[in-house]
Structures are given as structure tokens and as C-alpha cells.
């Protein structure tokens, strides 16, 4: 099953910590967003493998924009 992680709010992508193919476990930080003068980690809620990263650092994302697609393990 695939799971999508989407942006909760307008933000700028500060850093991306994983690549496609990487294994992640629930609680891992995959992306750091910057918004409201704060660095907000994007944390995965399930164990799985990263299928696709849809953003690069510097991108501006809006609420609902796709950030990461995961395959749950």
C-alpha cells in the first residue's frame, strides 16, 4: 500500500533527508520545512520505503501539496 505525505501549510522546503529507495521507520524525519519563522520537521507515521520525493530544497509548497510517497512495509 502506498501512503502520501502532504504539506499541512504554506512553507519553504529547507532540507530533504532521504532519497527514493530509502527505508524509513515511523518517527523518522524525512523533510524539514520552514514556515512561520520556524523549522518544522515532516515525520513519517508508518514504517516503509520511500518511493518518491516530490520536492527539492528551496521549493515553496502550499497546503495539500505532495511531499513524499511511501510504500508501507
Amino acid at each position: 500500500m502506498t501512503a502520501e505525505i502532504r504539506a499541512e501549510m504554506v512553507a519553504q522546503v529547507h532540507s530533504v533527508f532521504v532519497e527514493a529507495g530509502a527505508a524509513v521507520t515511523a518517527g523518522d524525519t524525512v523533510i524539514l520545512l520552514e514556515s512561520m519563522k520556524m523549522e518544522i520537521p515532516v515525520i513519517v507515521e508508518i514504517d516503509g520505503v520511500v518511493l518518491e520525493i516530490s520536492v527539492v530544497p528551496g521549493d515553496v509548497v502550499y497546503e495539500g501539496d505532495l511531499l513524499v510517497t511511501l510504500a508501507s512495509s
Binding site: 499541512e8 501549510m9 504554506v10 514556515s35 512561520m36 519563522k37 520556524m38 523549522e39 518544522i40 520537521p41 515525520i43 497546503e63
Partner: protein, 465 residues
């Protein structure tokens, strides 16, 4: 029925016996075909009234006599001043009884509203709760949903025939939509057993609040639960759990409006409510939904004499067209109203920052906080200092030769601004912060304030805002 022993696990007797302490359940109404059974019993020794609808009779539909039984349960809970718990599994009003059943359901709603804010009302929804059976739980203080619980006004059949939309009961009114989207459900349980256990914990927290024992409040270094960088967002749950007595926290609405956290638990053995911004979600901003969630929680605590502790780390209101059109002004006003009218002891702790209107809304001194603490290094301001100098020194910054020079100038002006505006010391001088408190003294200082402040309760109901 007949010769067969009654062992249907959905029967009201079985469910009520599972809910109460063993051997304490007694019926108040007769066990017949009215579709509702009412009884009394104990929850960890505390008296509680409870009723259960009977899904083995007409799908648990509510008729006139069944509704009268529920009203009798409410009258009894009011007379005995104890919590009332409803176990719901019902298709709504009995079609066969026509308007008489509608009248009965309406009388249940009226009884729930009359008693609202006077005794705690908890609903445990274990099966479908449709139409009138949806609004019953919705009028109560706390709704717990079991894995098979489905709450909706109109079912999939009606939706399909009227609009053609295809949807099943799970997607329409199951744990996911009500736990995350609608805010109808406060607690989602993984099993019926867990639903009963959570209902018991909540009935005990609200029904027997205990008294605060200062000696039992051990200080820990809550500051170690914050990240090193003041810009970094973090999950506030460990801080809330660390503030409360170990293992006592029970979160309401954990997945709905997660940028604010509302938790019941105990401090020094006494029930308290905690409201906390969660920087991990939406940066901890207040928005329309989180303001509404918090205001209902604050009013519930106020009505039941539960003191409040408000942990503040808020960058402001979430900006955006969506928010304005969603009524952030109207719904945000509820939080101002809730805190301003609140009469229970209420302590605010600013852990990192409190900016602008959100600072006011989070139980500020101006809204009547009993006491406002700030941790050393916390910032209380109209806005962050960089944002402030961008407004105050717009022209000077525009005249900077290049981006690098502008950034440098911004930092210098921001540092200057912090000196002039005075930081937390100035906030103390102004009286908007009462006291700078070390993180490792916060539990005992907050407990002392709650202990020293007379316990009163708000004279109002708990409208499901």
C-alpha cells in the same frame, strides 16, 4: 429469548456489566422491549449512572418508552450528582412509533441540555448511531468511538437515493472521519474493551477529581524536553505528559486540530486540564479549528471545576485566505470568550514564545489568568523581533545596498529592538508575565497556585461548540 440463555454480547446488560466494577451493576429500569436499559454502578468505586440502547430490539431504535428511560437516567444522575454514561448502538428514532418517537428523542436532547455542565456526560458509541442517536452523543461532553462505531445523520442508503453519492458507513461516520475531520469524536478506541476502559478513566477523572497533594508533586527538568534551537519545532506531548502525574494523561481530539493539544490528567492527584500548542503541527499556530477545539475544552473544564494549565509556545494565528473564509475571526473569538469567562484556577506557562493576538488568546493575564509564568529566555511580544523591524524600519531596510547588507541590517535592528522592547524582563515589569519560573520548578509552582486559589466552577452549560 425463550429457553436460550441470553448471551448476546451486544445486549445492554452484558455491556453495562462490562463497563462497571464487577458486581456493582444494578438496574433502575426493567429489562423489557423498550430498547434501553438503565442502571447504576461504580467505576473504581465512584458512583456512575449508565444506560445502553438495545441493538437486539429493532436495531436499538429509540421509542417513546426507551427515551423516557434515558431521561430517567439523567434525572437520577442529576439527583445523585454523578456522571452519566450512555452506551450507544441505535438506528435512531423508531419508525413504527412515528412522531411519538421523535418527541421522545427530542425530550432526551432537552434532558441532556438541562444537565449540561452540571454533571459530566460521556458517550460510548459501539455500533451505528444514526439520526437522533447521533445527536444524543453529540450533545454530551465526551464521545468515545469503538471500532464498529459509526455516527451519521443520514445513512449511506439515503445519501445514495438522494444524491447518487456512493459511500459506506465506515467512510461516512467511522473512526477516521470523526477522529480526524469532523471533531465529533473525542477518543477513538481500538476495541470495545478499550472504549469501556477509556470511558471509565474519564468518568473517574471528572467524577472524582481528588485533592491536590503538594508533596506528591515531584519537579523534573521539563526544559530538557525542548529542542536546543529555538527555531526548531517539536512534539509537545512529552512535555504535557511530563507535566502531569505519570500515566494519568488522556488526550481528547488527538488527531483533529492537532496543532493544539487538550488533555485531562492529574497533578498531585488532582484532576486538571492541559491546553498546549503543538509546534510540530502547523508550527503550533492557532487556527479556526484549533481555537474551537480548545474553547470547548476550556468551557468543559470550567463547568466541572477542573483547573487549567496552559502551555504556550505559539507563533501567531495561521495566516491565509482559507482561514479568514473559514471564520477564524468568529471561531477564534470563542477562545477569547471561553478564557475570559473562565472562573476555575488557570495557570499559563510560556515555554518559548507567545506572539501577538495568539498570546492574548492563550490564557493571558488580560483575559484573567490566575498566574502567568514564563521560562527564562521565553519571548512575549507583538511579533518576533525580525518581523517587527521589517515593519518598523521598512524604508531603511529598502535602502540597503544589497541582500547581504539588508540581512545584516535586519539582524542588527532586531537585536536593538529586543533591547528596547525589553524581552521577558519588560513583560514582567508590565505585569503581563507574573514570574519567571525555571522549567525544573514549574510543576510545583503551578501546583502551588492551583492549591492556593479557591475552587469555583463556571455557571454555564457545555454547548458542543
Amino acid at each position: 429469548m425463550g429457553d436460550a440463555p441470553q448471551i448476546d454480547p451486544r445486549s445492554p446488560r452484558v455491556r453495562l456489566m462490562a463497563f462497571f466494577d464487577p458486581g456493582t451493576f444494578e438496574t433502575i429500569t426493567p429489562e423489557d422491549d423498550r430498547g434501553v436499559l438503565v442502571g447504576m454502578g461504580r467505576v473504581d468505586g465512584t458512583p456512575v449512572v449508565a444506560f445502553a440502547t438495545d441493538p437486539t430490539v429493532q436495531g436499538g431504535a429509540m421509542g417513546r418508552d426507551g427515551c423516557r428511560a434515558i431521561v430517567a437516567a439523567y434525572d437520577r444522575a442529576f439527583a445523585d450528582s454523578c456522571p452519566v454514561v450512555g452506551i450507544w448502538h441505535s438506528g435512531g428514532a423508531r419508525l413504527r412509533e412515528g412522531v411519538a418517537s421523535l418527541d421522545g428523542v427530542g425530550r432526551v436532547f432537552a434532558a441532556m441540555t438541562r444537565i449540561s455542565g452540571k454533571v459530566p456526560q460521556i458517550s460510548i458509541v459501539l455500533g451505528p448511531a444514526a439520526g437522533g442517536a447521533a445527536y444524543g452523543p453529540a450533545l454530551t461532553d465526551i464521545v468515545i468511538l469503538g471500532p464498529e462505531g459509526r455516527i451519521f445523520v443520514t445513512g449511506p442508503e439515503v445519501i445514495r437515493s438522494v444524491t447518487g453519492e456512493q459511500v459506506d458507513m465506515l467512510r461516512l461516520g467511522g473512526p477516521d472521519p470523526h477522529g480526524r475531520r469532523s471533531g465529533v469524536v473525542h477518543v477513538v478506541a481500538e476495541s470495545d474493551t478499550e472504549a469501556f476502559a477509556e470511558g471509565r478513566r474519564l468518568a473517574h477523572l471528572l467524577g472524582r477529581q481528588g485533592s491536590l497533594d503538594l508533596d506528591a508533586v515531584v519537579d523534573t527538568d521539563l526544559g530538557s524536553l525542548l529542542p536546543e534551537s529555538s527555531k526548531r519545532a517539536y512534539d509537545v506531548h512529552p512535555l504535557v505528559d511530563g507535566f502531569l502525574d505519570e500515566g494519568t494523561a488522556i488526550e481528547l481530539h488527538p488527531k483533529w486540530a492537532p496543532n493544539i493539544v487538550t488533555v485531562l490528567g492529574r497533578l498531585g492527584g488532582r484532576t486538571v486540564g492541559v491546553v498546549a500548542n503543538n509546534p510540530l503541527r502547523l508550527g503550533g499556530c492557532l487556527d479556526a479549528t484549533s481555537a474551537e477545539k480548545a474553547s470547548r475544552f476550556v468551557r468543559m473544564c470550567d463547568a466541572f471545576a477542573v483547573p487549567l494549565v496552559v502551555l504556550v509556545d505559539v507563533p501567531g494565528y495561521l495566516p491565509g485566505v482559507g482561514q479568514e473564509w473559514d471564520g477564524v475571526v468568529r471561531r477564534g473569538a470563542k477562545l477569547l470568550h471561553a478564557f475570559a469567562e473562565c472562573v476555575v484556577p488557570r495557570v499559563t506557562v510560556v515555554t518559548r514564545k507567545a506572539y501577538g493576538g495568539a498570546f492574548v488568546a492563550m490564557n493571558s493575564a488580560s483575559l484573567g489568568a490566575t498566574r502567568v509564568f514564563a521560562w527564562p529566555g521565553a519571548e512575549v511580544a507583538v511579533m518576533g523581533s525580525v518581523a517587527a523591524v521589517r515593519v518598523l524600519h521598512r524604508r531603511r531596510l529598502a535602502e540597503a545596498s544589497d541582500e547581504e547588507a539588508r540581512a545584516q541590517l535586519e539582524l542588527e535592528l532586531a537585536a536593538e529592538h529586543e533591547v528596547i522592547s525589553g524581552g521577558i524582563a519588560r513583560a514582567v515589569e508590565m505585569g503581563v508575565v507574573d514570574e519567571v519560573v525555571s522549567p525544573n520548578r514549574t510543576r510545583s509552582r503551578a501546583a502551588q497556585v492551583l492549591l492556593d486559589t479557591p475552587g469555583v466552577r463556571g455557571a454555564h452549560g457545555n454547548i458542543p461548540l
